[in-house]
């Protein structure tokens, strides 16, 4: 009976001590953990937003610069003169007229220099009827009519028509272009002579520079990557090789409405956002996404949560170790203090 009484007081005191000491400790530890997790998530998100902004700014600046360069080119008198001469020879004497080489000798070196210096793949002069009257690529595409020929469904034809309709410099999407045997985009702008519209000047750009910008992983750790995709029918189609899938370009797709890769799906539909989700590999990621209008691309910048939250995982282990040690110390201290309090009371009770 006495042993029971002694134990009961000591146990009760120990339990109360434990409660008073451990409850606030547990609460503080939990709150610190949550706060660190939130701060880290915010920090990672801000970093992804900054990287996304940097990448999209670079892509847009690159494309805008291409547009400006072609617009300025179209305002040079040499272009209008060349178009007029080429058109005259082309339509009066035929595409293979003897006089054509004279015009090309006169205009060709300037066009070739401009193309090379600007980093374009080709330069085309296309009169209003859609015949390619001049191409720095030479005979392969020369003389082909964009509206009736084999490239009537190409991006070159679309941008030619769009530029004529809007009377402004236009950029096409990137798509496979048979004469280039690789994906290409085109910038087209109206060409005037003496105030009259005489045709379109177009340049071809390859996707190397854009690939380079997309595959810049600076600040994206071991698992971070940037994905660009566009909506084709009811699918989002990946457009470039990516870090975790070098063969993704034009092969990897995400159906619109799928339960995974919501980031890519939303981005290609013009939505902007950020969050934690399951990516195209089935991995949980932190991602930000946005729309790039120049190429109608959806852009995603993401990093695996496993890597992003590695400091949190470390904090969790550290907190657990500290918690266990604290628990052990508090238990020992509580038992010792409880006994030192209960012992005199029990003794006194025994004596009376």
């Amino acid at each position: 009976m006495r042993i029971l009484k002694k134990n009961s007081i000591a146990t009760q005191l120990s339990l109360w001590f434990l409660l008073v000491a451990l409850l606030p400790l547990a609460l503080v530890t939990y709150m610190t953990y949550r706060s660190s997790e939130n701060s880290l998530t915010k920090e990672v998100m801000n970093s992804l937003i900054a990287i996304g902004q940097r990448q999209s700014n670079q892509i847009e600046a690159y494309l805008r610069e291409r547009e400006r360069s072609v617009t300025i080119l179209a305002h040079s008198t040499a272009m209008g003169d060349a178009m007029e001469k080429l058109e005259r020879v082309f339509y009066t004497k035929g595409p293979n007229a003897v006089a054509r080489p004279d015009v090309e000798r006169e205009f060709g070196p300037f066009a070739a220099y401009y193309q090379e210096a600007s980093g374009y793949e080709a330069l085309y002069l296309i009169p209003l009827d859609g015949d390619i009257a001049f191409s720095t690529k030479g005979g392969r595409i020369f003389g082909i009519n964009l509206r009736r020929g084999p490239y009537r469904d190409s991006e070159l034809t679309r941008v030619f028509e769009r530029s004529l309709m809007s009377m402004a410099t236009e950029l096409s999407d990137f798509a496979y272009f048979e004469p280039a045997a690789e994906p290409a985009a085109f910038v087209a702008t109206p060409l005037f002579r003496g105030g009259f519209l005489v045709g379109i000047v177009a340049v071809e750009i390859n996707n190397e520079e854009v690939y380079r910008l997309v595959n810049d992983y600076t600040g994206l750790g071991r698992t971070g990557e940037m994905v660009v995709a566009s909506k084709v029918g009811d699918k989002a189609v990946f457009l470039t090789p990516i870090r975790h899938d070098p063969d993704a370009a034009f092969r990897r797709t995400v159906p619109i409405g799928a339960k995974w890769a919501a980031d890519v799906q939303e981005a290609v539909q013009g939505k902007k956002g950020s969050g934690t989700l399951t990516d195209y590999r089935g991995k949980e990621v932190l991602a930000i996404w946005r729309y790039l209008p120049y190429l109608r691309w959806g852009m995603v910048v993401k990093i695996d949560t496993e890597e992003a939250f590695a400091p949190i995982a470390r904090l969790k282990i550290l907190s657990s170790i500290i918690g266990m040690l604290t628990l052990l110390l508090v238990v020992l201290a509580a038992v010792f203090v409880a006994r030192s309090f209960s012992y005199p009371i029990v003794r006194l009770t025994e004596m009376t």
Binding site: L164, M165, S166, M167, P190, G270, K272, R290
Partner: protein
């Protein structure tokens, strides 16, 4: 609203390719029609088209007899109409009274949408055209949901049109910018609204960071007897806004606007005889 290359210019080219090369320009006498017609005249000159007449009517005026007489006399292939508001009712009434039907001389309007057709009478207008970025008849889930919600709130007899849709997505873009900066401060929102995009009923719209105009899809519609538009042409992607058309330098367009403003006694509309 749309920039010139997102409404006027494609419409003029479409008319030139499909309706004819002789144009008559008619508009209300304020800044938009005067500027629109300056752009159209530059454009038609570049295309080697012909302007048979250019007439303006004071804002709100119903004095249209003289102008319609000139149209009847010159017989253009197409009328480009930038008349604003109720003047349209008088204009089209007079036009039909003069025997000018859409079949003979079609009109391409830039301020007549589905809502105006309720007043003007779709049967009378059927066969004419308008150029906008949005029509109620655009197919797709997003627009279907938008039209359904609108009718549920405002009544089944009401119709949606371009200015309504522009107001709708404008509020969404603004709200996104406010969410991003966590403030309604005007200068903060002006910065944050750049690069915002939204999947609108007309398709994806996007605020251009350089000029803060909107990337929009361009459409041309033919008026049908039921008051809706049959879309006869659409741009294959959203068009980047170019506020100053290619035909003149930016400084020349600014001088043009300044001269209009000064000429009207520092007003943006012709005040008429005082």
């Amino acid at each position: 609203g749309a920039a010139a290359n997102q409404q006027l210019i494609p419409a003029v080219k479409w008319c030139f390719d499909h309706l004819g090369r002789k144009f008559f320009l008619i508009g209300s006498d304020y800044v938009f029609p005067r500027t629109a017609n300056a752009i159209i005249k530059d454009h038609l000159a570049a295309l080697k088209g012909e302007v048979l007449g250019e007439e303006y009517i004071l804002l709100g005026s119903t004095e249209v007899k003289r102008v319609v007489g000139k149209i009847a006399q010159t017989r253009p292939d197409v009328i480009l109409n930038t008349i604003n508001g109720d003047t349209n009712v008088s204009f089209f009434k007079e036009l039909r009274a003069a025997g000018i039907t859409p079949k003979e001389i079609p009109t391409m309007s830039f301020s007549i949408a589905e809502d105006e057709l309720r007043t003007l009478g779709a049967a009378e207008m059927a066969g004419d055209y308008a150029s906008w970025n949005y029509f109620q008849s655009i197919p797709g889930d997003t627009n279907t949901a938008f039209v359904k919600s609108f009718k549920r709130k405002y009544g089944q007899q009401r119709v949606t049109d371009d200015p309504m849709e522009a107001a709708y997505f404008g509020v969404h873009l603004w709200a996104q910018a406010v969410r991003d900066v966590g403030s309604v401060d005007v200068s903060a929102v002006r910065q944050a609204i750049k690069n915002q995009s939204f999947n609108a009923p007309e398709g994806i719209v996007y605020i251009d960071a350089e000029n803060q105009h909107t990337w929009k899809t361009v459409r041309i519609g033919k008026i049908m007897p039921d008051g809706q538009f049959a879309i006869v042409w659409t741009s294959d992607k959203p068009v980047r806004p170019v506020p100053y058309p290619i035909f003149r330098l930016r400084s020349e367009w600014q001088t043009f606007l300044h001269d209009l403003y000064r000429g009207w006694g520092e007003k943006w509309a012709n005040p008429g005889r005082r």
